[in-house]
Each structure stands twice: as structure tokens, then as C-alpha cells.
Amino acid sequence: MTTPRHRPCTCAKGGLRRWWRRRRRRNMALSNTLNRYLLLLAQEHLEFRLPEIKSLLSLLGGRFSSHQEIHGKSPFWILSIPSEDIARNLMKRTVCAKSIFELWGHGKSPEELYNSLKSYPVEKMAPFLHSDTTYKIKIHTFNKTLTQEEKIKRIDALEFLPFEGKVNLKNPQHIFSILEDYGLDPNHIPEKPLNIYFGRWIADGQRELIESYSVKKRHFIGNTSMDAGLSFIMANHGKVKENDIVFDPFVGTGGLLIPSAHFGAYVCGTDIDYNTVHGLGKASRKNQKWRGPDENIKANLRQYGLEKYYLDVLIADASKPSWRKGLFFDAIITDPPYGIRESTRKTGSQKEIPKGIEKCPESHIPVSFNYHLSDMFVDLLNFAAETLVLGGRLVYWLPVYTPEYMEEIVPRHPCLKLISNCEQRLSSHTARRLITMEKVKDFEDQDQYSHLLDNQFPPYKGLNSFREKYFSGVTKRIAKEEKSSQE
């Protein structure tokens, strides 16, 4: 028992304080620090979130560790993270997560929450509650609206916590949050919350990048420029870090290079389309006839102050790479053409039938439209296996015809380990999947033929007719509409 330094106080609060002091001594005996954090995620791109967070934690020297089953749809994840630094660095990269809190307590009812708070080690709370600090308490509710009165009641209920600092609503040093989870169904809002959390706010994520890098504001876009949020997710799946070299073999207007440059990587790309790379020809923006002189990939990077990360872009055929032998790329991040809005092409033979051939404006090399999707992915994986550093990642979109999709058709390679496979629906019967692979083995010559082995089941060949299948739904619908309009 500590000897009181002044006359013993007999007020209720004094009693509580003595209770806390006893608690502190007991808690110090529990040596393990839990370091649990509550991650609050945005409710979009649900499948992409876990791979993003896992990739980032791995990049930052942490490891994904959760005490609970991660609910695919829930915006609340409780994670164990080794240090607050790693938690902050995670938030400097993620576009899937909104905020992170140091978790002090949680429960399925207010009583459970309060008990949980009472067993949180006092010495961990103390630095943020002492009399020299300023703070405020916020309350967020999910899938329910509370009145101001209800909110204040809940905040007041936390009076038992040993806050000794001053409340400052405008600019507090520490922000604490109560988060109440009322489920995911806006049509069935429960009377009582399903979960309540209390924590100290640490940092917000990078969701504002989605707006600041929006394609709507970008100088130079193409028909298939990627949504900004997804392009940042791709860079995170790719574990891009500063001073990396990131390459896109189907670079188009360079949209996928931008997030990597934002994260400090140096970027380069190739594309078979002369006009796109040079910023020539018809513009993709509505009401704009021709692209302006400053519409090119370098200009896009310059728009965001990222010009210094621009290495080069070349006109090249991804199936016939022009690199000398070596491991140059830390990440390959790309959106290959699916043959719908952009054609799948490779350089062709002079002997090919004139129909379906165009010639490259500068070199008059015939560019054929016969590049089968399956060949393209075989080439891409071989290219990645050959040119990635060990541990480097390949991130690319794979178009699928949903009724026939099964996991086995995702292309494989002996040098590349499949890390994640996330679906984004495009239409009722088509989707694309963001595939992330990591190079785990050095490339040897025989590896490039692995796709020919019999045990590859079943090959991606079925999707050579992706284009036909994609349009088959459209054609049927048009035929139906025409028929009904004739009746």
C-alpha cells in the first residue's frame, strides 16, 4: 500500500483513484504488452482489403496478426501490431483503411466494454491522460444515427476512466473515440450495438489520394485508365517502396505508374501502341477532339510533381522484350488489354493477311490482332520470372468469364508464388481478378516451358474467346430487344 502524501481523501473519485493504483500494480505484473489496434476500413473493394493490409504490414516489417476471424465484410478489424510506428507507417500507405486506433477496450455491450477498459493496463493509459494533456472524446456510430443527447450520455458513461487532462474540442493533443457497430444491413438496424470499441486515435489512411489523383482531373487519359483507388491498391499489393524500379509492359497512358511514383519508386513502361505513348490521336475525353501537345505520360507525372521519378517509356512488344539479361524490376504492375476496349496485339509477320493488320506509324512493323489472351499471360509470367528481383511482385488484372471461372485457371509459374486473387465484377457474366504473385525462385531456361506440362489443369485457353463471351450477353440482349420491338 502506498503511503498517502496528504490526508487520505474520502470522496468517491478518490476511492476510484486508489482502485486504479491497485490495478496498476497488478497490471505491471502482467508483462506482456498487447499492442492491439482497431483498424477502421472503408466499405468498398472488400476483397482487396486484406491483401492490401497484409502486403503493407509485410513491407513494414510487421506480420499480419489478428486475434479474431477477419470478417470479410466488416469495417472493424482488430490487429496485433508490434509498434505504434508500424501502425502509423501502415496508414501512410493504405487506401483501404480510414483510421487506426490504439484499442483500449471493446465488448458486445456497454458493460463488457467498461470491464474491458478496466482491465487495460493503467500505465499504458497514463501518458495520454495526465493533467498536462488536452483531449477530446468522439463517438462514431455505424449503420445508425444517434441524437446529440444519446451521444453525450455515452461519452459521460466513461467518466470512470482516469482522465486528468483538460478537454479541448478544437485542437486536442489526444483524440479518443467510441465506435459503435450496428451491423451492415441498413434495412435491419439493431436496437443495441453488436460491438462497441474504445481507443486512442493514431492516424488516418490515404483515402484522400483517391480524390487528389482522380482520373477526372488528370491531363492525359485513355479509354481504359484505371480508377485511382484501385491503382493505389495495386501499388500496395506490389509492395512498392521508395527507390524501387517499377515497370508496366502495357503502360498505355501511364496511370498505373503514378501511385508507384507517389510512393517514391522510379517508373518505366512499354506499350505497342505508338499513338498512345506519344500522346497522339483522338482524345478519350468527351468533347475533346485531339490530344494536346502536353498529353503524355511524363506530363501526367509532372501534374503531380512526380516528374523526377519518370525513367522512360518505349514502344515495344511485351511478347518480345528488349532487355538485356538481368534482374532489373522490383515490381511489375500492369493492366493488360482484354481485347474489349483495347485490342490485344503483338507484332506480326509480313506474310499475314492484310485484313486485321495495321502498321506502326514510325517503323511500319505490322501489328497483328492475333495475340491470344492465354499466350499473353504465359509471356507475362515468364517475363516477370526473368526480370523481377527475388521477392519482387507481379500485379496484374486477369479477365474472367464468371460462369466458367475456377481458381485453377489462374496462370501459374514455377518461379512465382500466388499471393492473392481479388475479384471485381464488370458485368453480369464477366469480371476481372487482380492477381498478385511473388518471385520466389530464380529463373532457369526450362521454366519458360512449364505451361506446356500436362499437369497444368485446366489451362487458361478457354478465355481466348473472352471477347466473344463478353459480347455474347450483349448480342443476345440486343436480339431480344429487337424481337420484342418488332412484335
Binding site: 527507390n243 506519344h278 518505349l314 515495344a316 512488344d317 538481368g326 507484332t347 514510325e362
Partner: protein, 126 residues
């Protein structure tokens, strides 16, 4: 085209193999643009470079910039050296010209800073 990129490029004309590197530069327009110096990036890139080819390319453009012909030990800590390498790798650009395969003589044009490496089916390595 920057000299960093040139150092990674090789001709893939059928039959040339590793003799397709390095491509000979014939430049009609060269531009020098300042790029922020990043010693960490330069240090990372040096081991990936074919040093002799880099020096020859810089020299052929008249931008050797006192780059030594051989890499000395401990270059990671030599800021002056790293700045010279930075200049040659990232600040010197070929805007117009051609790249020539040293073995087959095949020319690849560079226009507006962008090299065109396309080969037809017949020309390309199988």
C-alpha cells in the same frame, strides 16, 4: 531516352543473342534536364549497370562528365562521384536519334525521347 534505360536495352534481332548489347547511339538531339539528386537510388542502380557500356554511351554523347572508366571501391560514400553518376544516368536524354544493333546493324528510331524497339516476326528472336 535516359542513359540508365539505354544501359538495360538490347537488340533482339534473331540470332544476335548477347551480342545485341550495347546498342550504339546516334543522337541528333540531346537534352540535359536537371533531376533531383537521390544518392540512395543512384547507389542502388550502380550494381545493376554494365559500367563500361555506361561510360562509352556517355562519352559518345559528349557527356562523359569525368566519370571514371572503372568503379572504385567505397563509391557509396563518395557524394561527388554519386552526383556524376546521377547526372549521366538520369539527366542526359537522347531526344532524337537512333539506336543501332551492334551485330546486325538494325536501326531503332528514337523520337520525342521515345525509342521504338518493334521488330517484325521475321526479324525477332524465336
Amino acid at each position: 531516352m535516359k542513359l540508365l534505360t539505354h544501359n538495360l536495352l538490347s537488340s533482339h534481332v534473331r540470332g544476335v543473342g548477347p551480342r545485341g548489347f550495347p546498342l550504339r547511339i546516334q543522337a541528333t538531339e540531346v537534352r540535359v534536364s536537371p533531376v533531383d539528386f537521390n544518392p540512395d537510388f543512384v547507389t542502388r542502380m550502380i550494381p545493376k549497370m554494365e559500367w563500361t557500356a555506361l561510360v562509352e554511351a556517355a562519352e559518345s554523347l559528349g557527356h562523359l562528365s569525368e566519370l571514371p572508366r572503372e568503379l572504385a571501391e567505397g563509391y557509396e560514400k563518395d557524394e561527388e562521384f554519386l552526383r556524376k553518376v546521377h547526372h549521366v544516368l538520369l539527366e542526359v536524354e537522347v531526344v532524337e536519334g537512333t539506336l543501332q544493333c551492334p551485330e546486325s546493324g538494325r536501326l531503332f528510331p528514337i523520337s520525342r525521347g521515345i525509342p521504338n524497339m518493334l521488330l517484325s516476326d521475321e526479324e525477332a528472336a524465336s
